[in-house]
């Protein structure tokens, strides 16, 4: 059983209210080394077999049609989940 990870973030030019809130909270908590923050989505899709190049292509397709909203978001990563990852 394999897993594909897809990361989606707001386009850099788009306002990211979540990221803004996170950045503000980090600063108030004293994490001042972090000068900016953005918040996006991470999807994990499970497949029955291995994560082949073909599966990744399908995942890219799914990302483009469903998981990301191309008007405001970029799909920043589509990759097989490394073995070590949790779950």
């Amino acid at each position: 059983m394999g897993r594909v990870v897809i990361d989606v973030m707001f386009k850099p030019e788009i306002l990211d209210p979540q990221g803004k809130a996170v950045a503000g909270a980090l600063a108030r908590l004293g994490f001042t080394e972090f000068t900016a923050a953005r918040q996006g989505k991470r999807f994990e899709l499970q497949v029955d077999g291995e994560v082949t190049e073909e599966v990744l292509d399908r995942a890219r397709e799914a990302a483009a049609t469903l998981l990301g909203n191309p008007v405001i978001e970029d799909v920043v990563r589509v990759a097989a989940a490394p073995e070590g990852d949790a779950q």
């Binding site: 209210p17 979540q18 909270a25 108030r28 908590l29 918040q39």
Partner: protein, 238 residues
């Protein structure tokens, strides 16, 4: 009796909570998130709303507000056997209480992924808390429910613990509106001083401004008022 009502940036229902306190016969004291002084109040209400926009997780940022440092200190640890400051967290306030670990569990996105606003039937499962003493044991009430992230979740041992200790304060009837585990609408700490509730009793305290009907089917509804009279009674007798 003085009941503090906290305003965080993004709080919405603090006007309603304060009105409910007044209608119940108490004095509502406005508390500001940035001030850790509780001004000697006898109890605290954390109101509904979207504190800090609820952008990260609901209640996650509000939990670190200066006022919460004091609330957490005076409320005491959740499993403690000695009663602390009575605190009622409604909706966003419930989320803040969970994020603050004053109550177990967490509240996640509704299972249907939509905001829902409706009149909700509840059963008061526990009337020996500071906020529910004026209700009958197992009494049914109708109050508004309105949330986008109202699904109460916790791991099984925690849920079992809550059930066996009788700490489920209210349960949804007539359909689970958000996917809450075991239809849980509200829980309390061990002593019943701290209560978190997803639905909004403060929106059912004045005739003509709440749900059309009460639990008995009458065309008037003040079913929520007794949350506020309960705590006043407790304060008087304490």
């Amino acid at each position: 009796m003085r009941i503090g009502v906290v305003t965080f940036p993004g709080s919405l229902d603090e006007v309603d909570a304060a009105r409910a306190v007044r209608l119940a016969g108490g004095e509502a004291v406005a508390l500001w998130h940035g001030d850790d002084d509780l001004h000697g109040v006898d109890a605290v209400v954390l109101p509904g709303g979207f504190s800090y926009g609820d952008y990260l997780r609901c209640g996650a940022i509000a939990r670190f507000a200066p006022v919460m440092r004091s609330v957490i200190r005076w409320a005491g640890p959740p499993e403690s056997a000695s009663p602390g400051l009575p605190v009622l967290g409604i909706c966003n306030g419930f989320q803040v209480l969970c994020e603050s670990h004053l109550l177990p569990g967490a509240l996640v996105r509704n299972d249907h992924r939509k905001f829902v606003c409706r009149d909700q039937r509840l059963r008061i499962e526990r009337n020996n808390t500071r906020w529910t003493s004026r209700y009958g044991d197992g009494e049914e009430i109708v109050v508004p429910l309105k949330n986008g992230e109202g699904g109460f979740v916790a791991d099984v041992p925690t849920l079992d613990h809550l059930e066996s200790e009788g700490r489920v304060v209210a349960r949804y009837l007539g359909g689970n509106p958000n996917g809450s585990y075991r239809d849980i609408a509200g829980v309390s700490n061990a002593t019943g001083t701290v209560v978190g509730l997803m639905p909004h009793p403060e929106h059912a305290v004045e005739e003509g401004f709440g749900p059309d009907r009460d639990a008995a089917g009458r065309l008037t509804n003040t079913d929520g008022l007794r949350f506020f009279t309960s705590v006043l009674e407790g304060v008087l007798t304490a």
